[in-house]
């Protein structure tokens, strides 16, 4: 089972955080800081694993990938395969890339909801339900259409956001 997904930049700013078990926001912040402290001390071209048991307790593994200014971090337990999760990060990033056409940190900053939607299509309650990035794309587009359609019904938009969100 996947325990958490985090995306943070090289300055330690959180860009995405999803924990599949409830944790208080304080605890989340503490964990993310703990992870970042280890991440930023690691050199390039070393393995993509971190000893996560000191941060997340027993039976936890952590795999991360470093892309440009972002760290993608997946935390999971012994019922996942490390290398498969590494591939999963690749799928996630590829999907983001297809979705935003050459994804960069700003895309993730400004498309909070969409990034979450993509992730939710892949991982459902800690279980991986979809590993094909084209399937994910299809579903995400459907959902966006549905959102837009449901907003378009509004005759007099109360807020500017109604017009802006795609």
């Amino acid at each position: 089972m996947i325990k958490a997904v985090m995306v943070m930049n090289t300055q330690g700013k959180t860009r995405l955080a999803k924990f599949y078990e409830y944790l208080s926001v304080e605890k989340q912040q503490e964990l993310i800081r703990g992870v970042f402290a280890v991440l930023c001390s690691r050199a390039e071209n070393v393995s993509n694993f971190i000893d996560a048991e000191s941060i997340f307790g027993p039976d936890s593994c952590l795999v991360y990938k470093h892309f440009a200014t972002l760290y993608f971090v997946f935390v999971f337990d012994s019922s996942e395969n490390e290398l498969a999760v590494l591939d999963l990060i690749q799928v996630f990033v590829e999907t983001l890339d297809r979705c935003f056409k050459n994804v960069c940190e700003l895309d993730i900053v400004f498309n909070y909801s969409k990034v979450h939607t993509i992730l939710d299509e892949m991982i459902f309650g800690g279980q991986v339900v979809e590993t094909s990035s084209s399937e994910i794309m299809k579903a995400v587009e459907e959902i966006s259409k549905l959102e837009a359609a449901s907003n378009a019904i509004t005759l007099i938009p109360k807020s500017a956001s109604g017009w802006r969100s795609r």
Partner: protein
């Protein structure tokens, strides 16, 4: 972005505005966020759902990425959820799924919303609802929504169905009774041909099997089919996970799967699947030599790979293999040892663990030597990692692998001098522990202690202070083994000891006390044997003298316990003359005088004690040295009397007493505990035991010497006056049965080979090849040379021998879940028609509200019918076969196991839903028969 403006009041800020504002940072992040939060609080009360949902979205953003509590928005989130619009629903579900938890007060209000969306025709709405359920479901939600989940499990939309399968995991976990409803359909999905559904189901089963593998043994044929047929790596990995849990439980199953796993191992191109195969073989199929060989071959490929991930995982796999097949490590030792200097800390630590796994009593000294040299060169973190693993490996099981303790003690000394060393406390414990346990090592211990004490540079390193305290204690306690007590005294009183914390300084002074008494005793009581040599001015000559003693080291080590005798006779050791005693006394006065005003009570007290004895003896010493040849016998005798008493007090070896000793003493007749405490006080006199535990204060050496400090304190107390010493002796005489004889339960192991092979001793350089060579030699079992020094006696206390029983209690929750699963899988045909069957269908419905009844009951009944009709006949057949073959399987084990689960169940039911109790009791007869796992004949 500006302050409050017309725009702000007219138009609500969107999430994008917030993000932009945060990025511009005009007024600082915190200020901006609190302003935004204020706005959100207002907006979220709005009656307009669009405004409300936008506010909720902004709030989720701030909560998710800036960690602000959003529990205040729980109810508004529910309101947004009730909106008919998809975009609102999505925002609400997003907010709810990461802010709701079991104690959210409005949690139960969500049930109907979820139910409505689960029944929606829009698959994305269903998906949102399921997603939310998978995050927040508690007992009530899981119970109330089980019927909906059950329906969705056979939905014809794949998108929904795979999510319904995934949500089952949470529903089962929270509400085990739902197994009775949903399990059958879940299993049906195992036969689905769609890879997505299959992946989802297999994922759920791998999670379930992780927690309680035994319950899923009957499904082995289905899993086997998937393993053989699967084209998807993802599914294969998950099935392998399941088999690695199941195989150890059922040897026939292991035999059956070993072939397909090996096929996968040979043929797959995917590294992830390959690694999973390796892991399955090394963890669960390690009895199959050929499979292990094959896996280790693949591990080797991983180790040779340039990808650090593969290398790391390869090392990990090797560590799992090492437990049962050490040859696999030795075959790959070059790589392992090269990895010690890898750039990646993970790889370094993993290879360190492997190197430590190779350690045996034959090669411990060589490996330690090389590792210590590595430690000298590496960064502080890894250095301490190395030291820590050496310490823990060597001390394992009461220094099981150490034969040559002299070597080990000097290694400890050496380790503490490594600049990055932070393992001071562990070294301290081991130094004292070895000193107490191993008599033969004491001369060497004193030598190492002196070596540490005389170096003033060490005093500045705060990590070493605890080591120094051990060294000070050892040099005081075993001063009779010292070759030059005067020099020790000088070290203990050197001016830089002011750098030490007071508690350790106290130990220094106390040790100085012991050394002084020893010197005086040697001089006065055994005075006749000492030739006064006025020409030797010992104190200043201490250092140079010690240099010359180095040459004796080899010699003295060889001679072991004879050291003192040898030196006593050869006179090479500094003879203690009257003159040197005078110098000594002056030194003490000089060094400790200022401490009489110390702010620390401990230091002041001990300094005062020491100066007290100096005051007492000094006149006598001066007196007798002046009139050496004259009479004045009377006074001299008196002084030596005192010194003799003191010396006896110190030299009495206090036997170790185990912590549980008192409990073993049966209560004597006529002794009424908790009465006559006045008598006790009389016995104890002025000694105040620091804690109730140390009632047996004659036994300061409890087996671990983290307590050494308090021990010293007690000891000091008992030595402060002669009265208390005699009281102590009296106490021992009276209550002798509370004391353990010191030499009890000693283990003598003979015929140990020498740890230091002379041929290898010379190569102390630290290149990799060297270690490779060393391990290569030592891993090949050598002929034991018989002339080796026997391993010294290691005193053990009964306490230590008892291994801590680390039986982990399985979670009680799983108990009831697995119970439910077993009921469904095995128990169906055994159910006595009257009790459980009726219970199953009646009880839940009677517990439920009327309107749910219609939902639940048809499902329940139909499902039970399916099981009874479809499976029971075949299962029953299997079962009888299984039973015949299982004649050997110990019934007792099953029985115990059943008791165990029952107990867990009871616990669980008591805790969570006591109202099910009666029902569970009714099921108990069912379980008696249901526990034997049945593997269909297919597998045989």
């Amino acid at each position: 972005m500006s302050g409050p403006s017309l725009m702000d009041s007219l138009f609500q800020r969107s999430l994008e505005d917030i993000i932009k504002g945060l990025r511009q940072q005009l007024i600082g992040e915190q200020a901006f966020i609190s302003k935004a939060l204020d706005e959100i609080r207002k907006e979220i009360k709005s009656t307009d759902l669009s405004t409300k949902s936008t506010a909720l979205l902004k709030l989720s953003y701030l909560s998710n990425l800036h960690f602000h509590d959003m529990s205040f928005a729980a109810f508004p989130a529910l309101e947004v959820l009730s909106s008919p619009r998809f975009s609102h629903k999505k925002i609400a579900y997003h907010a709810i799924s990461f802010s709701f938890h079991d104690s959210t007060p409005v949690l139960l209000l969500i049930t109907n919303h979820l139910r409505k969306d689960l029944n929606s025709t829009n698959e994305f709405e269903v998906s949102l609802s399921l997603q939310c359920l998978s995050r927040i479901a508690n007992v009530d939600l899981a119970r109330d929504l089980t019927p909906e989940v059950f329906t969705l499990l056979s939905s014809n939309k794949l998108y929904v169905r795979k999510r319904a399968v995934a949500v089952v995991l949470r529903v089962f976990e929270k509400y085990p009774d739902s197994v009775r409803v949903c399990f059958k359909r879940l299993v049906e999905n195992l036969e689905n041909s769609d890879p997505q559904i299959l992946s989802s189901v297999v994922g759920v089963f791998s999670e379930l099997a992780c927690k309680d593998p035994r319950s899923y043994l009957p499904l082995a044929p289905e899993f086997y089919k998937i393993l053989v047929d699967s084209k998807s790596n993802w599914i294969s990995i998950k099935v392998l996970k399941i088999f690695s849990k199941l195989a150890p439980l059922e040897p026939r199953l292991a035999k059956r799967v070993v072939e397909p796993v090996c096929d996968l191992l040979r043929n797959t191109g995917a590294k992830s699947l390959l690694f999973e195969c390796i892991r399955t073989v090394v963890t669960s199929l390690s009895e199959y030599e050929s499979a292990v060989r094959l896996a280790v071959g693949k591990v080797r490929e991983f180790l040779m790979d340039d990808d650090p991930n593969l290398k790391y995982l390869g090392l990990q796999a090797l560590r799992i293999v090492a437990e049962k097949h050490l040859w696999a490590v030795s075959e790959n030792k070059e790589v392992v040892i090269k990895s010690l200097s890898d750039a990646d800390p993970n790889i370094k630590i993993e290879s360190l663990r492997l190197v430590m796994a190779m350690v045996s009593e034959h090669n411990v000294s060589e490996i330690s030597r090389v590792l210590v040299n590595y430690a000298l060169k590496s960064d502080p973190v890894f250095c301490n990692e190395i030291l820590g693993s050496i310490l823990s490996t060597c001390s394992r099981n009461l220094y099981e692998i150490i034969v040559d303790f002299d070597w080990y003690v000097s290694l400890l000394g050496e380790m503490s001098r490594i600049p990055h060393c932070q393992m001071g406390e562990e070294i301290e414990n081991q130094l004292i522990d070895i000193g107490l346990r191993v008599k033969d090592v004491r001369p060497e211990l004193v030598r190492v202690a002196r070596y540490l004490l005389i170096d003033p540079a060490l005093l500045g390193n705060s990590f070493l202070h605890s080591v120094l305290s051990a060294a000070a204690w050892a040099s005081g306690e075993y001063v009779e083994f010292s070759r030059n007590p005067l020099e020790l005294m000088e070290a203990l009183l050197q001016p830089r000891t002011s750098l030490l914390p007071p508690s350790i300084r106290g130990i220094y002074i106390q040790s100085a006390f012991k050394v002084l008494v020893f010197c005086l005793h040697t001089c006065f009581v055994r005075g006749g044997s000492i030739v006064p040599s006025a020409s030797l001015n010992n104190l200043p000559a201490g250092v140079s003298a010690s240099a010359s003693y180095e040459s004796f080291d080899e010699f003295s080590v060889e001679n072991g316990a004879d050291v003192t005798v040898v030196h006593g006779q050869t006179r090479a050791s500094a003879p203690i003359t009257k003159e040197s005693i005078v110098n000594l006394l002056n030194l003490v006065e000089l060094a400790l005088g200022p401490l009489l005003g110390s702010h620390d009570v401990e230091v002041q007290e001990r300094a005062r004690n020491l100066l007290g004895i100096v005051d007492l003896t000094k006149p006598e010493v001066l007196n007798s040295s002046v009139q050496e040849k004259d009479d004045s016998e009377g006074k001299g005798v008196e002084t030596s009397q005192i010194i003799k008493l003191m010396h006896d007090a110190f030299s009495k070896e206090l036997g170790p007493v185990s912590l549980s000793a008192q409990g073993k003493v049966s209560l004597p007749d006529g002794l009424v505990l908790k009465e006559n405490l006045g008598d006790l006080e009389m016995i104890c006199g002025d000694i105040e035991p620091p804690s109730s535990n140390s009632f047996s204060f004659g036994s300061p050496y409890e087996e671990k010497d983290g307590l050494s400090f308090s021990n010293l304190q007690i000891k000091e107390d008992s030595e402060q006056s002669n009265e208390s010493t005699s009281l102590l002796a009296e106490h021992r005489k009276r209550h002798g049965l509370y004391y353990l004889p010191s030499g009890k339960s000693e283990l003598i192991s003979n015929d140990y080979p020498p740890a230091n092979d002379p041929t290898l001793q010379c190569d102390i350089n630290d290149n990799d090849d060297n270690l490779v060579k060393i391990t290569a030699e030592s891993l090949v079992p050598k002929r034991k040379p018989n002339h080796g020094k026997p391993r010294p006696v290691v005193v053990k206390l009964n306490e230590v021998d008892e291994k801590p029983v680390a039986m982990k209690q399985p979670e009680s929750r799983d108990g009831s879940l697995s119970g439910a699963v077993r009921d469904v899988l095995f128990g169906r045909e055994d159910i006595p028609p009257t009790s459980s069957q009726s219970n199953l269908s009646n009880k839940p419905s009677s517990k439920r509200k009327g309107k749910e009844k219609q939902h639940t009951d048809p499902h329940l009944e139909s499902k039970e019918n399916v099981i009874d009709d479809g499976n029971s006949s075949s299962r029953r057949k299997d079962r009888s076969h299984g039973k015949e073959r299982r004649h050997r399987s110990p019934r007792k084990k099953n029985f115990e196991e059943r008791k165990d689960t029952d107990q867990k169940e009871k616990e669980k039911s008591r805790r969570h839903h006591g109202r099910h109790k009666s029902r569970q009791r009714a099921e108990e007869p069912l379980k008696v028969t249901a526990q034997t796992p049945v593997i269909p004949d297919f597998l045989l």
